[in-house]
């Protein structure tokens, strides 16, 4: 009878701890992330490059003038990081602009958007790379 008592309490305690552990694991594994996370970054990046193109900013970058594009970068949504790079038809870099609070490391890039444009009879390639700000970048 005594063995029976000990076994019962032991088993119930084990069940209690197991149930607590499993429920904690289950709670932490619940999906709470934004299902449009990647799409939002892509859509914003694509529109941003369109606006830079139609607003004449890419032409300025082709002229190696980065000032106006640089002014826009800090006002993009906080979790996003960007760089814009313009190359000439021979693949030589003409201008690059990074969002100031981001590291500009190419390792973390989630989305690339590219666009060809013509300026003063020359063809250029604009590439916009974007990624979500990392914890290190958020702490800058």
């Amino acid at each position: 009878m005594r063995r029976g008592i000990i076994f019962t309490i032991d088993a119930l305690l084990a069940l209690l701890f197991s149930a607590s552990f499993v429920t904690l694991l289950y709670q932490n594994s619940l999906p709470v992330e934004d299902i449009y996370r990647d799409f939002s970054l892509y859509a914003y990046s694509s529109d941003f490059l369109t606006v830079l193109d139609k607003g004449g900013y890419l032409n300025e970058l082709a002229d190696k003038d980065i000032r106006n594009t640089m002014k826009l970068m800090p006002y993009t949504p906080d979790p996003y990081c960007f760089y814009v790079r313009v190359e000439d038809s021979e693949g030589k870099k003409v201008a690059t602009v990074h969002k100031p609070t981001c590291s500009g490391s190419r390792k973390n890039i989630d989305v690339y958007v590219r666009r060809l444009f013509v300026y003063n009879g020359e063809t250029y390639l604009a590439e916009l790379g974007s990624w979500y700000k990392t914890n290190e970048e958020a702490g800058d």
């Binding site: 008592i5 209690l16 619940l30 529109d47």
Partner: protein, 184 residues
């Protein structure tokens, strides 16, 4: 003749037997009480976690619904061709998709103003939103609002926000779409 052991207690053992029975009964009762307490604890834990999980799943599901609606509204406003094509001259209640662009990435003020002057329910229906919606056309580098329509979300609401850059009269601006619901 072989003698069989008797299960019946002998009169001389009656006192000891009664004591042993009481002791066993007492121990069993303690065991039962402890077991019931532990089972109740487990039951309360399970019910509490179940309630929490269902609440979180409900909120997550609500956020997914709002995300669908907000992204759909952004699609209709900024990318999809207007249906019918003579919008905004057509009554908004007949609209399937009231975009506010003249070309991709460029705001059409006439369309934006027509949409802001339409009734709230017609706008929601045209944008395919069953939740509440608030749309702002803003300066890019400040919080200055050029034009807004819909209902502003209260602080207690849960909302999903979509932001897109757009050209407004040649300068960079942004469109902020907030789909929201009041909780509780």
């Amino acid at each position: 003749m072989q003698c069989q052991p008797s299960n019946r207690a002998q009169p001389s053992d009656a006192k000891a037997g009664a004591y042993a029975t009481r002791k066993r009964g007492q121990m069993f009762a303690m065991d039962l009480i402890v077991a019931i307490l532990l089972l109740l604890a487990i039951l309360m834990l399970v019910l509490s976690v179940q309630g929490d999980v269902m609440g979180r799943e409900g909120l997550a599901s609500l956020r997914v619904d709002m995300a669908h609606e907000a992204q759909g509204a952004a699609q209709r406003l900024l990318y999809a061709p207007a249906q019918p094509t003579d919008w905004p001259r057509r009554n908004i209640s007949l609209l399937q998709s009231p975009n506010i662009i003249s070309s991709p990435g460029v705001l059409d003020w006439e369309k934006a103003k027509a949409l802001s002057n339409s009734s709230y329910n017609d706008t929601r229906e045209a944008l395919g939103v069953s939740s509440q919606i608030y749309v702002r056309i803003m300066q890019f580098n400040s919080s200055q609002v050029y034009l807004s329509f819909g209902q502003q979300p209260p602080a207690t609401s849960t909302l999903y926000r979509v932001e897109r850059p757009i050209l407004i009269n040649g300068t960079v601006g942004r469109v902020v779409i907030e789909v929201w619901r009041e909780l509780g």
